[in-house]
Symmetry: C2
Subunit: 236 residues, 2 copies
């Protein structure tokens, strides 16, 4: 039986960012990624130097852990990574749905999977220039096609600088029908270092002032609440 | 012609809380309220000691100001107060809608108005015991009835203490079909005093830990981003 590579399963906590901000959730963070963003905040789920820390779990074992953490009370399960689209989550989603759980997945949109259509929420997060990665828009389109009308699909873009901002505007023009969430980039991703709430506030203010000054009223601008609450600590 | 009593019109900025958190918006804050919550953060729109600061504006004048601030680019207009349900916003909503603007209204749910059905978003925010007010649930039900299937209607509850929290759980049980947003109360509402971001983080953490410990997974738990960004300063 195929096993899932899992970096961590934790919660219940709240979703700290994007379309489901504030929503109670259990995170299933997968190990492995086809990207290596310069500012990645989850290297422990990306860098293969950490691969011996990733558990090889059956779908049943993952589900048992989610069920245990949530006390069997249905909530939203957030599939994140790494890139969860590397692996097959169709069986996990099917299992959870029979018990009333909902599923959200965040992925960069580089790999399309049939199970996207079974999700409740799909967050496609194409990476801006500061990441050092280059978006393959044909792959992104394939993700949209795979999702179809199944989940609520949204686009989330992290913005570090002016160049990212201009890039985000062009990406938004490309997908006018996708609800858009913008998020200021987190410059301090070392989990051993505390994060100054004032810095988070300043970064958010910068982005809010940019969109309002430009009269760009379609995106929502949101911070990362988990960084406000816990800094870059893992497992919360 | 009936004039609207307006405490302030400002923006574009982002909606700092609740269902539309992060959304660019222009605020129309009305003057006058039928409540006097102990911890009110908008006394300048509630306390009649400030009534000489409230402008008596025609609907056209209000619309002209909203249009000017947003550069004629459609966005969400947030009707707040005070209690905006004291006054007649039907003509303003009709005017704005012809130009593609959307309308959200936040009210405690003590007064129902036919124009609720014309809104895009209605936030009903019944006040918990710490406010010193007592909710009239028959009036609240009348608000739901007036809204009908017109807007997306949600419930938002501010929570200061354990008693408020227990009260919110009972209110949620009463309206299981209403999406629910919980928000930690802001203890420091003096606009001349800075707000410590750490305090905001601590208050949010308290509430997040309560709902997750209780396995209460239906509400979203969100802070007031505008307080994080600007403290209690007005007009932002």
């Amino acid at each position: 039986m195929t096993r899932l590579r899992i970096a961590e399963i934790f919660g219940p906590t709240i979703q700290g960012e994007g379309a489901l901000i504030g929503e109670p959730t259990v995170f299933v963070r997968t190990g492995g990624c086809d990207y290596r963003c310069s500012w990645c905040d989850s290297l422990h789920a990306v860098d293969t130097a950490y691969r011996h820390d990733w558990a090889a779990m059956t779908t049943d074992a993952v589900w048992s852990r989610v069920r245990g953490l949530s006390g069997g009370r249905p909530l939203t399960v957030s599939l994140s990574g790494g890139n969860p689209a590397i692996q097959d989550f169709a069986p996990l989603i099917a299992l959870g749905r029979t018990e009333g759980y909902r599923f959200a997945c965040e992925t960069q949109g580089s790999i399309a999977k049939p199970w996207f259509s079974e999700l409740d929420t799909l967050v496609l997060s194409p990476k801006p220039p500061s990441s050092g990665e280059t978006v393959d828009w044909a792959a992104f389109d394939a993700c949209l096609l795979a999702a179809g009308n199944g989940p609520k699909t949204v686009m989330k873009i992290v913005i570090f600088d002016e160049r990212d901002y201009a890039w985000a505007r062009a990406a938004a023009d490309r997908y006018p029908a996708l609800p858009l969430y913008l998020q200021p980039g987190n410059e301090t991703v070392d989990p051993t270092q505390p994060v100054d709430p004032q810095t988070l506030s300043d970064r958010l203010l910068w982005l809010v002032e940019k969109v309002t000054a430009d009269g760009w009223f379609t995106p929502r601008v949101l911070p990362q609440l988990h960084v406000l609450l816990w800094g870059n600590k893992r497992g919360v």
